[in-house]
Amino acid sequence: MSAPLDRRAVVAALLERRETLLVVAGLGSPAWDCAAAGDHPLTFPLWGAMGSASMIGMGLALAQPERRVLVITGDGEMLMGLGSLATIGAQRPRNLALVVLDNERYGETGMQETHTAHGVDLAAVAQACGFPVARRVSAPVEIAPMRGAVLEASGPLFFQVKVGAGASAPALPPRDGGYLKQRFREALLGSDALR
């Protein structure tokens, strides 16, 4: 069994030369991981509304069918919004990918174990909900194919990435929600953002 993947390295690989990719980052460590890879106007990091990341991604994917939308979130955040997998599986947005960084812990609240530490298989849930691609990723060699799929494959896609539980240095994105929303819209929509 190989060493667990490094979450920062996984996110950096996903976001490198991201070009037109639209990103939603779930609250806590996934948002910090995205900030560590480089804060970007087309990343919408959450500081609350736990459980909402995947549905924000779907609303965005439906509104922007020509763009690729990537939700990067954690196992605790995904578990809180588990019903969203059924909703996304039924809707089948082709341009949406969910990447769950699964460290089997609630990282912001004292590293308590989540349900994935007790046998709950998120990729199997996504597969059962009808995601055409629902895979567990646990080896470095799988990262590049995952990135390729996120950018091109017909979705919705689900990747459960097993990462280590070690803490990373804090890397905080801006937390003013109005700013985060408006800079995203301006970067995506140009002058239409102010309508």
């Binding site: 609350g48 919004g81 109005g178």
Partner: protein, 182 residues
């Protein structure tokens, strides 16, 4: 006249009026958890190919969906029963904190002539909960006011960057009854 036509002609006009307002206000994504009071409006939205209908498994998903739609330049609406308002509370931070517009059309239970005691607590809590969460509410009591009320709420939401809910009263919808099953 066939039975089918007779039933169609008996449909109330207000769901079509709300559908028209949603279109004129540029709504493109219609999220819902089914409710008997929304049945006709849901049918109209499904039949409208210019709208994307998104059935949800729980109402708070619609708050996230609406935020994502707005990030992408589209407008969304959430159709829900009053009990679903309680499921949305934590997600309302997206509106109050980020300024995402949010339009809800809520069919009420637990008020006028409610027979099911389990519906009453959430039904009675809808307005205090909405107001405590920063959502403005407009009561819709008469079918002929449907278009104007939804239009006013949509204006507050999409032009005013606010959260607004239309509460369709149980008096207008007609209280559900299982009397025939007793």
């Amino acid at each position: 006249m066939s039975d089918r036509n007779r039933r169609t002609s008996a449909e109330p006009a207000w769901p079509a009026a709300i559908h028209d307002v949603l279109k004129s206000r540029g709504v493109r994504q219609v999220a819902y958890v089914p409710d008997a009071g929304h049945r006709r409006l849901i049918e109209l939205c499904h039949a409208d190919r210019s709208l994307v209908t998104v059935p949800l498994t729980s109402e708070e998903q619609g708050i996230g969906l609406a935020a994502g739609a707005w990030l992408g330049g589209q407008r969304a609406v959430l159709l829900t029963q009053s009990s679903g308002v309680g499921n949305c509370v934590n997600a309302f931070t997206l509106g109050s904190n980020c300024g995402f517009p949010l339009l809800l059309v809520v069919t009420m239970r637990g008020e006028w002539g409610e027979f099911n005691p389990w519906q009453i607590p959430m039904g009675q809590a809808v307005e205090p909960v909405l107001h405590a969460s920063g959502v403005r509410s407009f009561r819709l009591e008469r079918p002929e006011d449907a278009a104007a009320t939804v239009d006013a709420a949509a204006g507050l939401a999409f032009d005013g960057y606010a959260m607004a809910a239309v509460l369709v009263s149980q008096k207008m919808l007609g209280a559900k009854s299982f009397a025939g099953a007793r």
